[in-house]
Structures are given as structure tokens and as C-alpha cells.
């Protein structure tokens, strides 16, 4: 079955070869075609080539065009550092001083920063394999993107001292997000939402509801209005905000390894599909293939009977140097488990 056929059959309750499986491959794709991570900078053609090659090598079920979290913030003026062969990182926020808030403007995804190149990567991947597999474009959500505009420490303090400024930042972020989401959809893809800073490892549920949820909801409403389903990934601990993530309109929650699939299944599994959550560093990067197999089986055991469906996945993007053997092992384990999942699992 192709991934598209598999997802369609799964949704219809028709016969199926196995559960969908998504080891979330980001810059590991560079290793698949033997280029440096830094070569992806501003090179949509190469990103597409690597992501398509990675999909063909491993045979997973969703392609996600992603290199780092900062593309929108960079297009709004943040400084991003690009090591030669490692993942890019935020070197400086867009403004150092909150009095410069007026300097910030929403990005134009067709012109600003490397957004046009990421859109190019999406179009090329869709051209190559879009008839068999869904291609998504990573989109960093309003609150997290806002933290890259002023810096995480400053944003955290503003939440307590000047909440109206945080709302202004999130509003500007959202304007960029909406324009980028529209461009991603026009490229034939679905936005894949990622919101690292909305985690309970950083902010509390009350703060999530005040500062993140309103903007997230508007973003998801917009994407739904274009006829697309939404997968929402929030890193770290999230159990206290699952209800809010569902209320925001997410169709699928992508859970970090710090969250429990079994618990999520009980609490919100009747309303949303779940996706997760093999540990990226300890198991996928550092573990043996046996470790990957055991962790993948544990995920399948916890999630396969989720009422709204389950995708076996890594808990977050895979580290660049994740051994290929471990990615193959994850897929192989899901294939062996089959569907309906064999009793032995």
C-alpha cells in the first residue's frame, strides 16, 4: 500500500497492512543523500531531494519539510546561525528591546528570509511523490515564534509584567503564520504545527490558555477552512493541556516521550488521533535496534486501540545522526505487528 492508500483505508476501517508510522526525519535526510546539513540553507531543491530520498529509503508515511524551527522568525528579522554540518540555531531574537516592538512586521512567505525556498522544497516534493504520500510543511506556532522574536527569557518575564505586549507579539506571529499556512497549502501541502514553547515544561496551563491557545485556535480554524486536517506537536510535558489542544481544534496530537500515550488515549483519545512517542535521543539516537524494537512495541501496545486512531512515531524530530538501522527497525517492527495488531504485541 502507498501511505495515502494506507491512511485512507485506516480512516475507513478497511483492511490494512500495518499502522501508519512516522519516524520524524528532519536533517537526518542530509545523511541519506550524503550532503552537509548546512547545504540545506536556502536550497529548496536540495531539501526536497533529501526528503524524498529519505522517504523512499525508509518507507514511512508522511514527509515533513523541516530543517529548524526558526524560518518564520528569521523572515521577521531574527538572526539564525548556520553551522556547516549541524542544525541551525537562533543566534539573536528579532528585537533586543521590547520598545522596538513597532519594528516587527509579519513576513511575506513569498519574499522574506528562506520561506520561499522552503515552499520550493514543498512543491518539489509534492511533484515527485505527492500522489502517493502526504507532504507537510513544518510551521512554528504563534507563541513559540513570538519567543524567537524577543527571546524566551524576555517573553517569559513579559507574560508576568506586560501581558499586552505578549499578545501583540503573538498577534504579529499569527499574521506570519496565517500567510505561511496559506502558501504551504497553495504549494499542495498541509501545515504541520509545532509549538515547543507552549509545553508545560515551560509555561503553565493557565498561561497556555491565556497566551497561546487563542492564536493557535485562529490558526487551526484557518487551516480547517482550507479543508485540511491539523496535527499539533507540543514538546515535553503536555497532559495538563490536552483538553485545550483538542479545544483548539487539533485533529491529531503528536506527543513527546515526556507524555503518556496510554493516558492520552483515556483522556482525549475518543476525540483525537494520537501520534508518538519513541524517545528520539535515548532510544533512536543512542539505542540498539533491539531497544528501538522494544520501545516501538510498547508504543503500539499503548496506542493501537486508540478510538480515534494512532500513528506510531518518534516523540519529536529525530537527531541528525540517528542510525539508519534504528529508523529501519522502527518501520520493521510496525510491519511485523501488522493490522489488526498481532496478539504477540
Amino acid at each position: 500500500m502507498t501511505p495515502n492508500e494506507r491512511f485512507a483505508a485506516y480512516a475507513a476501517g478497511a483492511p490494512l497492512d500495518r499502522l501508519p508510522c512516522v519516524p520524524i526525519v528532519g536533517n537526518t535526510a542530509a545523511r541519506v543523500i550524503g550532503v552537509k546539513v548546512g547545504d540545506f540553507r536556502g536550497n529548496g531543491r536540495l531539501i526536497a531531494q533529501a526528503q524524498v530520498a529519505s522517504y523512499r529509503l525508509f518507507g514511512y508515511d508522511i514527509i515533513r519539510i523541516f530543517t529548524d524551527l526558526y524560518t518564520q522568525a528569521e523572515a521577521m528579522g531574527a538572526k539564525v546561525a548556520y553551522p556547516e554540518d549541524e542544525t541551525a540555531y537562533l543566534a539573536a531574537p528579532a528585537v533586543d528591546d521590547i520598545t522596538q516592538l513597532d519594528r516587527l512586521h509579519p513576513a511575506d512567505p513569498l519574499k522574506d528570509g528562506y520561506l520561499p525556498e522552503h515552499l520550493e522544497a514543498m512543491r518539489r516534493a509534492v511533484d515527485a511523490v505527492g500522489d502517493e504520500v502526504a507532504v507537510t510543511g513544518a510551521l512554528t506556532c504563534p507563541f513559540t515564534n513570538a519567543s524567537f522574536l524577543v527571546g524566551a527569557d524576555q517573553l517569559a518575564r513579559l507574560m508576568m509584567r506586560a501581558p499586552e505586549k505578549v499578545h501583540r507579539l503573538c498577534e504579529i506571529s499569527l499574521a506570519t503564520n496565517l500567510a505561511y499556512a496559506e502558501a504551504i497549502i497553495a504549494a499542495g501541502c498541509t501545515p504541520s504545527l509545532t509549538d515547543a514553547m507552549s509545553s508545560m515544561s515551560v509555561i503553565g496551563p493557565r498561561q497556555f490558555k491565556e497566551f497561546s491557545l487563542p492564536y493557535l485556535t485562529r490558526l487551526i480554524d484557518f487551516i480547517h477552512g482550507k479543508g485540511k486536517k491539523v496535527t499539533l506537536h507540543i514538546c515535553g510535558k503536555t497532559s495538563g493541556i490536552w483538553e485545550a489542544m483538542v479545544a483548539a481544534g487539533a485533529d491529531c496530537l503528536s506527543l513527546d516521550n515526556a507524555a503518556s500515550i496510554a493516558e492520552a488515549k483515556q483522556k482525549v483519545g475518543d476525540r483525537v488521533r494520537l501520534m508518538g512517542n519513541v524517545t528520539p535521543s535515548e532510544v533512536m539516537l543512542q539505542g540498539t535496534t533491539d531497544d528501538v524494537r522494544a520501545a516501538t512495541l510498547a508504543c503500539i501496545g499503548a496506542g493501537h486501540d486508540n478510538p480515534s486512531g494512532f500513528i506510531v512515531a518518534s516523540g519529536c524530530s529525530l537527531p541528525t545522526e540517528t542510525p539508519f538501522a534504528n529508523i529501519h527497525a522502527m518501520l520493521d517492527t510496525v510491519r511485523e505487528a501488522g493490522w489488526p495488531v498481532r496478539r504477540a504485541v
Binding site: 517569559a156 507574560m159 509555561i203 498561561q207 528520539p280 535521543s281 537527531p319
Partner: protein, 224 residues
Amino acid sequence: MSAEKERLLQELSDAVVEMDEDQAVAAANEVVDRGIDAYEAIERGLSAGMERAGDLFDQEEYFIPELLMCSDAMYAGMDVLKPHLKADNAAVKHKVVIGVVEGDTHDIGKNLVKIMLETSGFDVTDLGRDIPPARFVETAKNIGAKIIALSTLMTTTMEGMGAVIRQLSEEGIRDQFKVIVGGGPISQGFADRIGADGYAVNAADAIRLARSLVHPSAAAGAAA
């Protein structure tokens, strides 16, 4: 006098927990005016408040924004009290070098550990973020640190922690320092693999770890 002192210590502690910088400064000024020992006011007032804030964080009552605001109040009070510390209070603080390894600029976790270490009586040199291995080693040597504390949130930069330890070994000074590691992708297994002296899962754990490394017997006693 004693009741008055206890009231002020409580006010300092409460000002930290309630994230009230003005209150912390006002109470600290009153401590100075009344000639109350500055060291005791920091230990039993401000630091005690920061420990309560840490407990609230463990209980998921407080999150990172609250902890940062609490630490702002603590440092505001500290700035008033520090000039009034007597010289004999200043002795026997163990030195720590802390920073986020090269290639990573996520420093909220590192900042929390730094705050809690200072609260617990360590003398902390914060190198900041995106720090090459050689600078950790060089600084640790220069200030005579006991502990080198390394943080990263990114799997891409974890290996930089191993580089610090390798450099210490190459210079033949590995046994002069305790190296502790922490951050999102780090685990005890990773710490063991690179030969670190310890791993801490969060800021509170980092304090326990640091104490046990500089006072092995005292920590064992406290844990029992």
C-alpha cells in the same frame, strides 16, 4: 528585636515567592537599617523563598515565567544586602562554571540551575550560551572551580559535552573537576557514556548532585 527579625526574614521570603521586587528591596533596606545580619537575611530570607518557589515548580504550581520573576525579586534583595555582608561570611563557597554548550542558545534551563546553585551557596560563573569546550576548561582552571556544569536542549549539540571531558583528560587534569550534565535530550546513560560525574534531571536535582559532589559525606547523611 528577634520577633522583628523573624518578621523581616519572612517578608523577604514572601517577596521572592510572590515575585515582588519592590517588597524584596524594601524588606532588605529595613534589614540593613535595623542592623540585622545580611548573611542570615539572604540565607533564611531570600534563599529560603527561592527554595519555596522551587518546591512550587516541582508541584506544577509555578512554571518557568514565575521562577524567573521570583529570581528577579531574589536578586533585587540580594543587591541591597550584599554590600553589608561581613568578610567572614564570604569564605568557603565552592565554585562552579556553568554554560550552554556550543551550537545551542537555549538557556532557560541553565539559568534556573544557576539561580538554584547560587541560592544553595555556590559561587557560580555563568559563561552564557553557545560556549566552545575550551572556554569551559580555561575558565574552570582560572577560577579554581570544583564543578563544571554543562547544559543543552538540543540533540545536535550533546556531543560538545563529551568534548569538554576529553579536553580535561588530554590536559591531564580530569580528576581536578567534577563535570555534571543536564538538559532535554540528556540521560544518565549519556552521562555515563561520555564519562561525566553526574546527571541531573532538573534544577532541584542538580543542586542535590552538586552538593553530593563537593560534600560526599554530608549529602549521604542528608539523604538518609
